[in-house]
C-alpha cells in the first residue's frame, strides 16, 4: 500500500485500534514511552510518517515551533552566568529544560508538555558564558582548523571542538530549526527580531490533546550543540539525575 493509502486507512481506524496497532508493533515506544497515551486518546497523539529509511512509521503529533509558546521565544544571547538544566533524553538531542521551580524541584512533565507521568532526567549546570564564547568561534568565518585552534585556546579539548563544529552544522538541518512549523516561524508570529546563532530559550507551550491537559510553562532551551557535546566540552558540568513527576 502507498503511504497516502496507508495514511487514509490509519486515519479511519478507531483510537483503540490505533493504540493496539502501535503497541503491538516494533515501534511500541510511541505509546509505551508515554503513559498518558491510552486507547481513548491515541488517535489524537499518534501520526503515521515516512521514516528515515523511507518506510512508514509511527510518531507523535508533536507541538509546533519546537514546543515553545511563541511570544516567549528569545535568544540565548540574552542569558548569562550559570543555570540549572535538565533533559529527558539521550546525548543526541539539542533540547533541554532550564531553571527550577520555586521549591527547588525541576519542572514536571505537565510543565514540560510531555505526555508521561514521570521520568528520570539528566541534570547539570550550564555555563552560558562559556557556551556563548564558543558559539562566537564556531559560527565565525574562517577555516575549520582555525576554529578548532580558537576553541582549544578557550579551554575546549580538540576532540570536542570537532564535535561542536559538527553539531552546529547538524543543528541547522534539524526539524525544529529548518523543518515545517520551526522555531523561527513561531518567532515570526510574535513579530520579534531575535539573534538566532546562539539558539533559543523560552517557555513550553500548553498542550492539550484529547483528555490530556499539559500546562506548559517550563523553561526550555534549544542549543546549537547536543547534550552529549555540551557535557564533554565542559559547558554542562555537575552531571546528575533526578526524578520528575
Amino acid at each position: 500500500m502507498e503511504l497516502r493509502e496507508q495514511k487514509i486507512a490509519f486515519n479511519n481506524m478507531s483510537s483503540e485500534d490505533i493504540y493496539n496497532l502501535v503497541k503491538n508493533s516494533s515501534e511500541s515506544w510511541a505509546v509505551e514511552g508515554y503513559d498518558l497515551i491510552t486507547p481513548d486518546n491515541a488517535k489524537d497523539f499518534v501520526k503515521i510518517i515516512t521514516n528515515s529509511t523511507g518506510k512508514t512509521s509511527f510518531n507523535l503529533e508533536w507541538p509546533k515551533y519546537g514546543g515553545y509558546e511563541p511570544i516567549t521565544i528569545s535568544s540565548i544571547d540574552d542569558l548569562s552566568g550559570k543555570i540549572p538544566v535538565s533533559r529527558d533524553g539521550g546525548d543526541g538531542g539539542y533540547t533541554m529544560g532550564f531553571g527550577k521551580n520555586k521549591d527547588g524541584t525541576y519542572a514536571n512533565n505537565s510543565q514540560r508538555a510531555i505526555p508521561k507521568g514521570s521520568a528520570d532526567v539528566n541534570t547539570g549546570t550550564f555555563d552560558i558564558d562559556l557556551y556563548k564564547s564558543s558559539v562566537d568561534i564556531v559560527t565565525s568565518e574562517g577555516s575549520m582548523s582555525s576554529k578548532i585552534q580558537k576553541l582549544i585556546e578557550l579551554g575546549i579539548d580538540d576532540e570536542f571542538a570537532e564535535d561542536m563544529i559538527k553539531d552546529f552544522n547538524n543543528w541547522k538541518t534539524r526539524p525544529e530549526i529548518a523543518g515545517e512549523n520551526n522555531i523561527s516561524e513561531g518567532i515570526a508570529l510574535s513579530r520579534k527580531s531575535i539573534e538566532s546563532k546562539y539558539g533559543y530559550y523560552g517557555n513550553a507551550a500548553e498542550w492539550n490533546v484529547g483528555n490530556v491537559k499539559m500546562s506548559g510553562g517550563a523553561g526550555q532551551m534549544n542549543t546549537i550543540y547536543s547534550w552529549g557535546t555540551l557535557k564533554q566540552s565542559g559547558i554542562i558540568s555537575d552531571i546528575g539525575k533526578a526524578v520528575i513527576n
Binding site: 521514516n51 528515515s52 512509521s57 533524553g89 539521550g90 543526541g92 533540547t95 559538527k166 538541518t173
Partner: protein, 116 residues
C-alpha cells in the same frame, strides 16, 4: 549477512571492547551493524560498502554521518561513546574529519543522493 560484514562487525566490537571498562554490553543504547530507529539510540551500520554512524534523539529524529572506512568507523564510534581519547591511533585523517563534520544526513535517501 555476508561473512565479510560479520567479520567487520566483530572487528569493530573487539576494538571498542579493548578500551571499555567492563565491555560494550554496558552501552545498551549502542548497536554495531544494526540500525534501530527508536528514540535515544546510536550505533553504526554498513550501507553501499561504507560505514555510517547514527544517532536518534528523543523524538526519533535520526542523524547519519559518513561514509567511513573500517578504521574510520571505529574512531567515529569511539566518539559516539565518548571514549575517543583512548583511540588516538584511529584518529580521523583530514578527509575523514571533513566528512565527520560536514556530512549530516537524515534519511537513507539523502545518503544515496549525496554519496556516489
Amino acid at each position: 549477512m555476508d561473512n565479510m560484514l560479520n567479520e567487520e562487525i566483530e572487528i569493530i566490537k573487539s576494538k571498542l571492547n579493548e578500551n571499555i571498562e567492563g565491555n560494550m554490553e554496558v552501552y545498551q543504547n549502542f548497536h554495531v551493524g544494526e540500525f534501530l530507529e527508536i528514540p535515544n539510540q546510536c550505533g553504526c551500520f554498513k550501507r553501499n560498502s561504507s560505514w555510517y554512524t547514527y544517532v536518534t534523539d528523543e523524538k526519533n529524529f535520526c542523524t547519519f554521518s559518513g561514509p567511513f572506512s573500517l578504521k574510520g568507523i571505529i574512531y567515529a564510534c569511539s566518539k559516539l561513546l565518548h571514549i575517543s581519547k583512548k583511540f588516538n591511533k584511529y584518529r580521523f585523517t583530514k578527509e575523514e574529519l571533513e566528512i565527520y563534520i560536514n556530512n549530516n544526513f537524515h534519511s537513507f535517501n539523502e545518503i544515496d543522493n549525496n554519496i556516489k
